[in-house]
């Protein structure tokens, strides 16, 4: 796509997007949103606000009913090789070992075996799971499974990560640690992230921008720029600035729930 003005092509662009399911109420109505490369955008909102639907639209797994989605200037279907999707459950194949799961994408793309092995080893090292490479998913804890899922997503060198409540099923301590790990990788690899969660603290900790959605129909209610300093660590959660941002986001979110 030709870039008409001097500004870079936005990494993700939603233009008046709406989504309605067959025989059902409108899920999303007229959402417009521009995400620049390297942003970490988190969606918060009550159930029925279309948070997960939004990720499905950006990935092209579900078509829009109105408006348009552009990913790096392309249709979502054409941009798929730039994108990795991380689901709420780890979605590992139980009959494959950890390393076979991480290598799945490259295997489906017929990558050469030595290159695949090297990449898988590197990814497992990245999430500190090299010692369980030969294990099967059922032998892992919930947090480990999620790290395998992240390793698998990163193996295909994505520019964009779509994460649909990836840590929702984990206990708080595990979730906090994985949040810190995720940010460490984010600062190294500079992806653009769209992240869905129910936790205000998680949203504030991770994001450069928090988008609060209202439900029935799903629409943007508020946008908050999070200006906590980087790098963010466990200490960030104890800072006054963090507390203030969480309080502000919570207040806005409460307004949306009450509406």
């Amino acid at each position: 796509m030709v870039n008409q003005d001097s500004r870079p092509v936005p990494e993700i662009e939603l233009m008046g997007v709406s989504k309605r399911y067959r025989n059902a109420a409108v899920a999303i109505e007229d959402i417009s949103l521009t995400v620049q490369r390297g942003e970490f955008v988190t969606f918060l909102g009550p159930s029925g606000c279309g948070k997960s639907t939004l990720l499905k639209l950006v990935s092209g797994l579900s078509p829009v009913s109105g408006g348009a989605v552009r990913v790096n200037g392309m249709t979502p279907e054409n941009a798929r090789q730039l994108v990795s999707f991380i689901f709420q459950d780890a979605t590992l194949l139980p009959w494959r070992t950890v390393e076979e799961n991480v290598g799945l994408g490259m295997e489906l793309e017929h990558a050469a075996r030595p290159a695949r092995k090297e990449r898988v080893a590197k990814m497992l090292d990245l999430v500190s799971l090299s010692h369980v490479a030969k294990r099967y998913p059922r032998q892992l804890s919930g947090g480990m499974k999620m790290r395998v899922s992240i390793a698998r997503a990163l193996a295909s060198r994505p520019r964009i990560l779509l994460m649909d409540e990836p840590f929702a099923a984990l206990d708080e301590m595990t979730r906090d640690r994985l949040n810190e790990e995720l940010l460490r990788l984010y600062s190294e690899q500079k992806w653009t992230v769209l992240f869905v969660t129910h936790s205000v603290a998680e949203a504030v900790f991770l994001s450069t921008r928090v988008v609060i959605l209202a439900a029935h129909p799903g629409r943007v209610a508020h946008e908050i720029a999070v200006d906590l300093p980087w790098p963010r660590t466990a200490a960030t959660r104890e800072s006054k600035a963090f507390e203030e941002q969480v309080t502000q986001a919570s207040r806005l979110l409460r307004g949306v729930y009450q509406a």
Partner: protein
């Protein structure tokens, strides 16, 4: 370990007691062997007629195994087509239920009429009786795949063939084995039922079903009991072979086999 030994010992004692009771019943009542032979008479018949019994056993095993393997191949193929095309499944799936409800005793004579008496027609009977559980279970496993796993494969631009062979088929493996386990038992029954009608191609030679008819006509009740015993052993062996193959295929990863691996 000690508890296990006690369980085994108890089973042995109960079994021996039952045999003893049976023998006592026969001896004390002076029952003639053609009405009810005692366990000793059955053992004697087993020893005397062992070569012909083994021959019958092998014929039935061949028919049952042949029909079972054919039904696995055909059943998995049919299930894969059903999983790939919804309309085909809706169109043809009712016939697999029909296959299950058709009385095998009624169609066995028909098949023998068409395919001729002998091993081939009995194998066809076991094939028909084994097919429905394989198709039904495998189809269920192929289509009940987590939606997010399908999405994952689509994000990797997986082809329909990749989704079928790397996702749906392994996902259906536990269901396939459930189907095979059911079919393994009924394939032996189907084989024996078929043989009741098919008879033998040569005089005095045939599978267990044929031998049962023969023994019954000759009033060789001891041999008849030995044949029933052989049929039971055959069914058991089929079941255990399938269980072993299931364990080989699933014990690494499937939840149902969790107890076998130390955590």
């Amino acid at each position: 370990m000690k508890r296990k030994a006690i369980v085994v010992m108890n089973s042995v004692i109960v079994f021996a007691a039952l045999l003893g009771l049976w023998q006592a019943l026969v001896t004390l009542n002076h029952l003639p062997a053609y009405i009810l032979p005692g366990p000793l008479a059955v053992a004697q018949a087993l020893r005397e007629r062992f070569p012909s019994l083994l021959n019958s056993l092998l014929i039935t095993a061949e028919e049952a195994a042949g029909g079972l393997i054919a039904s696995i191949l055909a059943g998995v193929a049919a299930a894969m087509l059903f999983a790939q095309w919804n309309w085909l499944r809706q169109l043809l799936y009712p016939y697999t239920i029909l296959l299950q409800t058709v009385p095998i005793v009624a169609i066995a004579p028909l098949i023998i009429n068409w395919a001729g008496a002998g091993i081939l027609s009995v194998t066809i009977v076991t094939f028909i009786i084994s097919l429905a559980p394989i198709i039904a279970n495998t189809t269920h496993g192929l289509i009940s795949v987590d939606e997010n796993l399908i999405h994952l494969f689509l994000m990797y631009k997986a082809t329909p063939a990749q989704i079928l062979f790397r996702l749906r088929l392994p996902n259906a493996l536990p269901n396939l084995f459930t189907g095979i386990r059911i079919s393994a038992g009924i394939s032996v029954i189907g084989g024996i039922t078929g043989e009741l009608f098919a008879g033998s191609t040569r005089v005095g030679e045939g599978g267990l079903g044929y031998a049962i008819i023969y023994a019954s006509n000759q009033m060789e009740t001891g041999y008849l009991f030995a044949l029933v015993f052989a049929a039971t052993v055959l069914g058991f062996s089929f079941f255990f072979i399938v269980m072993f193959m299931e364990w080989l295929a699933l014990h690494n990863w499937h939840e149902s086999k969790r107890a076998h691996t130390a955590e």
